[in-house]
Every structure is written in structure tokens, then in C-alpha cells.
Symmetry: C2
Subunit: 609 residues, 2 copies
């Protein structure tokens, strides 16, 4: 099975709008902040002791992700100025790399004697992100200088880690290079890179040198507790985890490795069934930014990092390529439209690193120490333009710029429609046009050309209890309706009824007990204090929603008003319980749009009556 890559897809509607904001606001904002903080300047390799803005071990990767976002953007929407910025950085990489191909700012400028010593120092992680950037830039521009530099670097890494095994560790403390190597294999056709990826993936959790390496902080944290094929559930730092799982899925597909896929499936299901916020957020605690225990999903101190949610979507997309089971695209959809998209403001110029499911300013004020300790470090009641650890802003930028990647996969017989975006796509003689207001309306007109004799498999979203498929369905399997295409041009109308619905969590999720999340289509909603008359926890949404929707131009989505109740207020501290609640219409907005109107309480999981 192959992906239809984003460059084959022209977007309209919701995602076109987001692409434009991403290009015109997010990419320049991230550029400005990364300039302010010295990240671009660092490529000049002239930082000296005592200078401000000492390069950080992960800065290479910040710029790499920004370049990747730029590459995807100019691939669809050329921009000479942006291209010139990248070319300048590539020149600096060429100029400042070692003769042996090695390139790393921090470990050349700041600690040249400590190369490949500290497993936790993101060296191979940076190499991976630079490689992803180089491939994206090559695909966008045809310029291969950056790509060749990274191929040289990978030769060096192969020598050190595979041939000589001479580094102080065997596998990286932060996975990323594994998936980058598969991309490099796809790009160059050189099987060596696939072997290197396999090497790093399979060696994980098996080598004493890794456990003994300096700064090692524990088996679970970086998924080194067992050989990857034996891992039963997603553990540890959630971005690390999903990047590893991406590479595992990549390898399982390319090597047709069933047992590796089975491991991926187990890990995926352990997230989807036990460890994922309703928004597609993962990694519930800031202690290690990690998975904790099944059903441990607190809302107000949710960590739920933007990057982790992006990682989950990337993992899910890769799984769709191996087995057409709609749970993968369902989860990708949830993560993309909710947690990931909440990571960036509607204007595109400010960001969340952590994405809580409740903000209660009064509770925070009263328990300052607790929130400082549990949710602190990153400001999380309002989005900001840059973080010290600023992985998320360029990550969301590259995801939005390449969102078309998620749309279709195909093999010789069948094209799978995983998502519904206003778009047209052309690949291998096939042309598919989607007309839809998705994610705001579930009606989709698919126009398919060049598929006569083939099968179109359309995903029925898990949320779409009621739906109409305007075609004969050959079979429905694992969430896809398979439609035989019997004409050169075929128009198929799908209608996934987008009714507001209330979602309950498993009663084992203590934080959500007695509460529901309002959802509509793929969007999870939240209430903000600024829209409502009572403190949000004094509101209950009614089982009989009686919902009305209204389109909001800035959000490019519907807001919802629904029936509910406010707790009746009274003077005394205690009184005999009376079931007298005050009817109250409650306003909800898409979760991705929260915190765009100043600081306000916010609540996803609301009491239900």
C-alpha cells in the first residue's frame, strides 16, 4: 500500500484556510522567535563562552522542523524568500559540518569532546529531523545539496553506530532518526538506510551499553524496557514513544513483518483504548511528559503535549498503510482536529505546548503551588509565541503544511479514502475530487476519475452513527465501505450525519466521572467562561441537548448552544438537597478554538443531567 503524498493534493475549504494562516502567520512567527532566541544564528557556529543564546542540544531540530514546514509550504505555494532562508542555512551546514559528515551545532560549538557520549542529548534526534527536512526540501525544490549532506552524515552515523559500534551508546535516547532513515530509504532507494533504521529499532532495549550510558534515566522512559517487539503497552515519554512506533510501522510495512505489525497494533490499541484523552491528547503527566497508567487522564493538569498528539496522528497514518482498519484514521482525525490543532491559535501566531482539558483560573489561583508543580514550566492558560523547549510550534506548522498526506492510501486494486477534505488529488492516473464542508458538515461529494474496475473504500467515521453511502456497497469491513467503480467518472455522495452528541468516558477515568464531552463530527467541544453565565462547573448539560449550531467565521467552524442547567444558588453554606436547577443555555466552541479571546475558564468534560 502506498500513500498519496500531500503534493498530489490541492486543498480547499477548512484546510486551505489553515494552510494560508500557517504560511502567512505561523511560519513567519516561528522564524521571528527562533531568530530572536539565537536559533538561526547558531548555524554560524560562532558562539563562544560568555556569549548570550548558548546553543541548546535540540535547537538543530527546531530549525529542521521549521525548514520541513517551509519545504512543504513552498512545494504547494512557491516562495523565493523562504527558499533563500533555507538555502542560506544549508550553506552554513555545508560550511560548518565536519569532514566526516558529522553535523551538530551544540556538540561542535559547545562540547566538541562529547560527541556520541550522552545518549539523552538528542544528537541522533537532531540528525533525524535534519534528514526529514532535507528530504522535504529536495522534494519541494529538486535541490539535492542538503539531502547529500545528510546522506554523508548518515554514512558517518552508520560507521560509528553500526559498523564500529564505537559510540558510548547504541540507540538514541530520543527516537526520531529511525523514521527519518525510512524516509531516506524511500527517497533514495538505498536499502542501507532501511537497514540502519532496523538496526536502531531492533537494538532498542537489548544493549547493556545503553543502560550504562551516562545520563540514562530509566528503561520505561525511552521505551528501552524490552525489545520493541515484546512491548505490551505504550510507555514513557509520549513523543519518543510515537516516533518509535512510527518507525516500527514503517519497517513492518516495508519488510512485510507481521510480528512487528502485531507489536505496533498492541501499542496502538493500548493508547486508543486506555491512555488517550477524548481530544486525541496523550502523555497525561508533565513528570517525564509521559504515559502513566491506564485510565489516568486528569483534565486540569493534563500534559497532552501538542507534539505527542502529532506523533500519534503520524503513527496512525502509518498503520493505515498496513491494515485498512478505520480505527487508525479515526484516531488520527481525533488527534488532528482537536489536541494538535489546539496547539496553535486561530491567528496562527501563538502556541500551546501542553493542552489541558480544563482551565479553572480560580482553582489555579487557590492552589498555586500545585499547578506550578504539576502544570508549570509552560504557561498554559494562554498561548505564547515561543517556549524554551519549542518543539511544538514548528511541529504543528509542518503537520498543517503537509496535512494532505493523511487523505488517501492505495494499492493496485483499491483506493482508501481515510479523511474528508475539500480537495482534488491526482495520482497514478486517478483523479479524486472531494466537495465537502468537513469537518463542519458530513456531506461529501466524491468525484472519481480513472478508477473503472477498481474499488473505492471510504471510511465510515466511528462517530457517524447515521450515515448514507450513495452507491452500492460491495462489503463493509473494519469501518470502510468498499464500492466497486464501474465507470470512468463516478460521483458518489456520502452523508455522515453530524449531530451533536454527548460522549462518556469509561468509569475508570476518575476525572470524567458523571461528566460528558459534547462532540459533533470529528470535533470535540468545550465551554469557555467568556461565553457562559455561570462558573463552568456549576453547569450541567442536558441529556436532551436541543442543540443549535451557528457558524463562526474566525474559527471556520460551528459553535453550539445546548440546553442545560445551572446549579441554583443560595445564601447558606449548606442546605437540604433539592433538585432545583435553573435552565440555562450553554455555549460550546470547538476545543481547537479555545483560549483565543484572552484568559478564560475552559471545560471539556461537563456534568450531565
Amino acid at each position: 500500500m502506498k500513500s498519496v503524498t500531500f503534493d498530489k493534493v490541492n486543498l480547499g475549504g477548512f484546510w486551505k484556510n489553515r494552510f494560508e494562516i500557517n504560511k502567512n502567520s505561523t511560519i513567519p512567527t516561528v522564524y521571528d522567535r527562533f531568530s530572536d532566541t539565537g536559533r538561526f544564528r547558531a548555524f554560524e557556529f560562532n558562539w563562544k563562552d560568555g556569549d548570550p543564546d548558548k546553543p541548546h542540544i535540540f535547537w538543530d531540530s527546531d530549525i529542521a522542523k521549521w525548514i520541513e514546514a517551509v519545504a512543504y509550504t513552498i512545494n504547494k505555494s512557491p516562495d523565493k524568500e523562504l527558499e533563500a532562508v533555507v538555502d542560506r542555512i544549508v550553506d552554513l551546514i555545508e560550511k560548518n559540518r565536519d569532514e566526516n559528515g558529522y553535523f551538530n551545532i551544540y556538540f561542535t560549538v559547545c562540547e566538541p569532546d562529547n560527541r556520541f557520549v550522552n545518549r539523552m542529548a538528542h544528537e541522533l534526534y537532531c540528525a533525524g529531523h535534519l534528514t526529514e527536512a532535507a528530504i522535504a526540501y529536495y522534494n519541494a525544490t529538486g535541490k539535492d545539496k542538503f539531502l547529500k549532506l545528510m546522506c554523508d552524515y548518515m554514512e558517518h552515523i552508520e560507521k560509528v553506530f553500526v559498523v564500529e559500534d564505537s559510540a558510548e551508546f547504541c540507540t538514541p535516547g530520543h527516537e526520531e532518526i529511525e523514521l527519518a532513515l525510512v524516509k531516506l530509504y524511500d527517497c533514495t532507494g538505498n536499502k542501507k538506510y532501511l537497514d540502519m533504521s532496523s538496526h536502531f529499532v531492533e537494538a532498542r532495549g537489548t544493549r547493556q551499553k545503553d543502560f550504562d550510558s551516562p545520563y540514562y534515566i530509566g528503561h520505561d522512559y525511552d521505551q528501552s524496557h524490552k525489545p520493541v517487539r515484546e512491548q505490551e503497552r505504550a510507555t514513557g515519554h509520549s513523543v519518543r514513544a510515537t516516533y518509535l512506533y512510527c518507525a516500527m510501522a514503517d519497517l513492518a510495512l516495508r519488510l512485510n513483518d507481521k510480528s512487528l505489525y502485531d507489536a505496533c497494533r498492541r501499542l496502538f490499541m493500548s493508547i486508543a483504548e486506555k491512555q488517550m484523552y477524548v481530544t486525541g491528547g496523550i502523555g497525561s503527566t508533565r513528570y517525564g511528559e509521559r504515559f502513566t497508567e491506564d485510565y489516568d487522564l486528569p483534565n486540569d493538569v493534563a500534559y497532552s503535549e501538542t507534539c505527542a498528539s502529532i506523533g500519534l496522528a503520524l503513527f496512525a497514518r502509518r498503520m493505515s498503510l498496513i491494515e485498512p482498519d478505520s480505527i487508525y484514521a479515526d484516531i488520527a482525525e481525533t488527534a488532528i482536529y482537536n489536541c494538535a490543532l489546539a496547539g496553535v491559535s486561530l491567528k496562527g501566531n501563538s502556541f500551546f505546548y501542553v493542552n489541558p482539558l480544563e482551565i479553572n483560573l480560580e482553582r489555579r489561583r487557590r492552589n498555586k503551588e500545585y499547578y506550578q508543580y504539576n502544570a508549570g514550566g509552560f504557561e498554559i492558560t494562554q498561548r505564547v509565541e515561543v517556549f524554551d523547549c519549542s518543539c511544538c510550534p514548528p511541529n504543528i506548522a509542518r503537520m498543517i503544511a503537509s496535512i494532505g498526506d493523511f487523505l488517501y492510501t492505495y494499492n493496485n486494486d483499491t483506493v482508501f479514502v481515510h479523511h474528508y477534505f475539500e480537495s482534488d488529488a491526482e495520482f497514478d492516473g486517478i483523479k479524486i475530487t472531494q466537495n465537502t464542508e468537513y469537518p463542519n458538515n458530513g456531506a461529501v461529494k466524491l468525484t472519481v476519475k480513472g478508477m473503472k474496475g477498481k474499488t473505492l473504500a471510504v471510511r465510515i467515521p466511528a462517530w457517524a452513527e447515521k450515515h448514507k453511502i450513495g452507491a452500492d456497497i460491495a462489503k463493509t469491513e473494519k469501518g470502510y465501505a468498499y464500492i466497486a467503480i464501474d465507470a470512468d467518472e463516478k460521483e458518489i455522495r456520502l452523508d455522515f450525519a453530524m449531530e451533536c452528541r454527548l460522549v462518556a468516558a469509561n468509569p475508570a477515568v476518575e476525572a470524567d466521572i458523571g461528566r460528558v464531552a459534547l462532540c459533533r463530527g470529528p470535533l470535540v467541544y468545550c465551554a469557555e467562561r467568556v461565553d457562559n453565565n455561570a462558573p463552568l462547573n456549576n453547569l450541567s448539560v442536558s441529556e436532551n441537548l436541543n442543540a443549535e449550531i451557528a457558524f463562526d467565521e474566525e474559527m471556520q467552524a460551528y459553535t453550539v448552544e445546548a440546553d442545560g442547567f445551572a446549579d441554583s444558588t443560595f445564601e447558606s453554606l449548606y442546605r437540604k438537597y433539592r433538585p432545583d436547577f435553573v435552565p440555562e443555555r450553554i455555549k460550546f466552541i470547538p476545543y481547537f478554538a479555545f483560549a483565543n479571546r484572552g484568559e478564560s475558564d475552559m471545560l471539556v468534560w461537563m456534568r450531565v443531567k
Copy 2:
């Protein structure tokens, strides 16, 4: 108005049982633990640098409260052995005090040069408790040695603090001496002590020397932010606060000081209407063991110290003497039967210092750091025999031993019946017998002798929505039914219908939103995991309680089973909300009886459906 003191009251039923447990288990247990920890030995004044068990600044008060408990106990139930222990300590006090009357273990043995330097070092607090003990012991035995020693000490204190004003501070950092001085005035008739109490009370919050004194930790914390008459709401350390308010009420009564009473009333209402747990617990945070803000009453990290609840009951009792308003006895009743009584186990030999309204072991395990920080320092999921700061065990012991103090107040015309205890009492030619199973049954037979021509005012508990008073009622005012007594012997039957009821908190109390507390009569109930099939937060109690009660011998109280629902369990992490709950009988026990069967989850505020 005067109190009928406990020595005039013979108890039966519930409190007789508690008195026996107190005498036979609590007093010996506290004795043993105070011996183990060196508290008794410290009175020998032979501790030296390097020895174990260095005396602590508050140890004098621990022993003083134990002596006070012993004195109340032997007053009603003589015990030569206990008396001998006290005599020995009194001899040691006599032997080791200074010539000028000063007595303090720590500031004689450990820091003799720092007397009356550190306002926060509990010196006057210890003097106050020793004085209370001396008075109690004199009343119990007629032996006046201890009393005289304390009068000498008070002479010295008067000289230093009132006449010369030569100490490093003017008022104590921990109030207590103020109320002890009023007791000493009542005991000796010497008005000097009343003047000294007034002096300390009125000087509070007015003297720069106090704010400048070493170790001073802030105005609010010890109620020094304003002159006491101007204070609007209860603030700061809640034990300190209630002890101060006790003295203020004592002075208001004895000096007929209306404006001081008004301040007391304001402060009392600020607790009762805004800052009190449904159990009568106060001081919601461990940071300073203090009052925080109105409606800030978290359940699982509730501090709610046993001593503070006792302090509230003592304050309320004093207020009843000034104005017959049943809110005072209502609050005293709530505090006594719930928070205070929960401070000691049913067997009488282990204690809580803090009294949470929820224990969720799983949540604690998952958030260890949070609970260590917020509720730590004292083990609070199981009672223990002694704490480093062990003020609570002897405090609950002295309260139980003198519980009869709460029963009646009277003046020339009227006897007020504030509480209902199986008992008989004789005072000033009046004899009142109560036959009742209170707090387990609201039927009370009052037999009154020697009151012809006087009025009996019986309190109608605030919880008693339905009640019958078997007599002609002259008037009902502020919660008391006034009954003219027209015969030498009169039998009056009261019936306060004890139905199980559900209590709701003001919606401003975020922790209790959507939840209710089951109560019956004066008792607040809780559910323990050990009695129930589902995690407690997965249960909802039904609005239609359909309650059944069953008597429990060890608790000497009724347990309750009521209708409710368990959240229906399902496999998936999320699903469309369905209002399908599983009917489930839920068992509740009195809050005072929780944590007597090993470690278990516990919940007062349960969801309601």
C-alpha cells in the same frame, strides 16, 4: 447566664460509653505515648545536649491537656493511680520552677536565655494550658498546690507583660492564655486575671513590638492584622483563631461588652456561613493549618484539624452563654459528633490530626507528590497513636471527659437545653433527667424538677425539620422553644424526627458540586470502600433514598443503606453517553466511625441522581 458544669451531670448512653473508652483506652494510650517520647520525663529538667528526646516548646501543653483530661475524668470517676501521676508532675513543677514563678521546660532546660523573646514559641500558650489543667485538677481533687503554682506564674507574667512591658513581644503568637485567665478569674474570683485576659485580647494587632518580634510570621496568621474588635472574618491558624474567639466571648459575657460580642458574632458567622466543612471541620489547608477563603473547602486534602473543631465547639458553647441562638449549639453539635469525634478511633487508642472528607487511595498513589505536599506530614489514611505535634489526642480526651459542659446554661428565669444526652443533672435546686438514645434517635423524655415558675427553653436542632414538642410553647425564638414550667415535677417529651436526609453545599464550594452528604440527625455519614461494591466515585446516591438503618454495636450508632446507582461499566475508553446506571444499594457509616477497619477509600460528598 451560667453554665452547668460537667461535674453536675451524670451521663449514660452514647457519651457514657465514650467516657469509659476515654478513661480506659485514650488516657492510658496518650500516657504511654507521651512517656515513650520523653514528654513526661522532660518535667524532671535533666535533659542535656546530646540526650535523646529534646524537649519541645509545646510539650508542656501536651501534658497539661492530658492532666486536664485526667482531672475531668477523676472528677466523675476517681482513680488514685492517675491522681498520683498528676501529683508527681505537680511536685516536679514546684521543684523545677523559678523563684519568680516562671515555669517552662524548654526555656529553662534548652534555651534559658531566650525567655519571652520568641513570640511564636508557645510560652504563654503553655502557661495557659497548665493553668487550665491546674484549675481542673483543683476542681476535681480540692488540691490547690498546682493552682497556686500557676497563680504565681501568672503574677510573674503580669509583671513582665502588663506592668513592665519588658518582654520582646506584647501578645502571644498562639492564643490560649487569654481564655485560661478567664477560667482563673472564675475559679479564684480575682479580677486581676480578668484584666490580664482583657489586656492580652485588646493589645492584639495594635502593638508594633509584636510585628517586630523575632520569628513573626505575618499578621493574618495569628489574628494580629487588626484590633480584635475590628476583625471581620475568621482568618489564620484555625486553632489559634478559635482560642482567641473563646476568650473574646468569655470577656464579652463577663464584662457585658456588646461590641466585643458583635465582633464574636461576626467571626462566628464567617465560619458557620462560609468556611466550615459539613462535618464541623475548619481550617481547610495545611499551609498554616488555617482558614483560607470563603467556600474553599477541598475534601481530599482537607486539613480540618481535630483541635480546630474542638476549638470551634468551645467557642460556640461560650456564645450560647451570651445569646440564646440555636446556631451556636447546632454548630457545636456538628463539630463534636463529626469532625472532633472522628479524631479518635472507636477503640480510643489511635488518632487523626487532620480529618479529610475523602480518601481515595488510588488517587493518592498516583499523585504521591501532591498529597505528600498538601496532606503530608501527618499520616492521614489511617489513625496513629502519636504525632510529633500531638496536640489533638489529649485535646479530644479532655473534650470527651468534660462533654457534660455543653448541655445546659441557665439564668434566674430560664434553663436552656442545648443538647440531648442520656443524663441526669442537678444544679441550684434543679434536677433534669434526659432519657434519649440521641444522637441515634431524636425522641427525648425530659423530666424536670424544681423549676416551677421558671422556663425551660429547648433547642430545636436545625436539622429537625419535623419535630414534636410535647408541651405548650410560650414562644419559639432563635431556635429555642420556651416552655413555662407549671409544676414541681414535669415530664416533657420531645421528638425530633431523625430521617436520613441529603445535604447540598453552596454551589460556590467547588469540591462539592453535584454531590450531597447523607446526614441523619446530628451525624454526617460517609461511605467506605470496604462496605461497597464499586469505587466510591462511581456511585451516586438516589434522590429517593429509601434508607434502612441498622444498629452497629461497636460504633454505638446506626449505619445506613440507601438506594443508589453505580456507573455502568463498559470496555471502551469512550462511548456515546447513555443514561444507564446500575441500581446499587450503598452503605454509609457515621463519619466519626470511618477508618476503623483498616485502610479504605472514604467519601462524604457523593454524587446524587
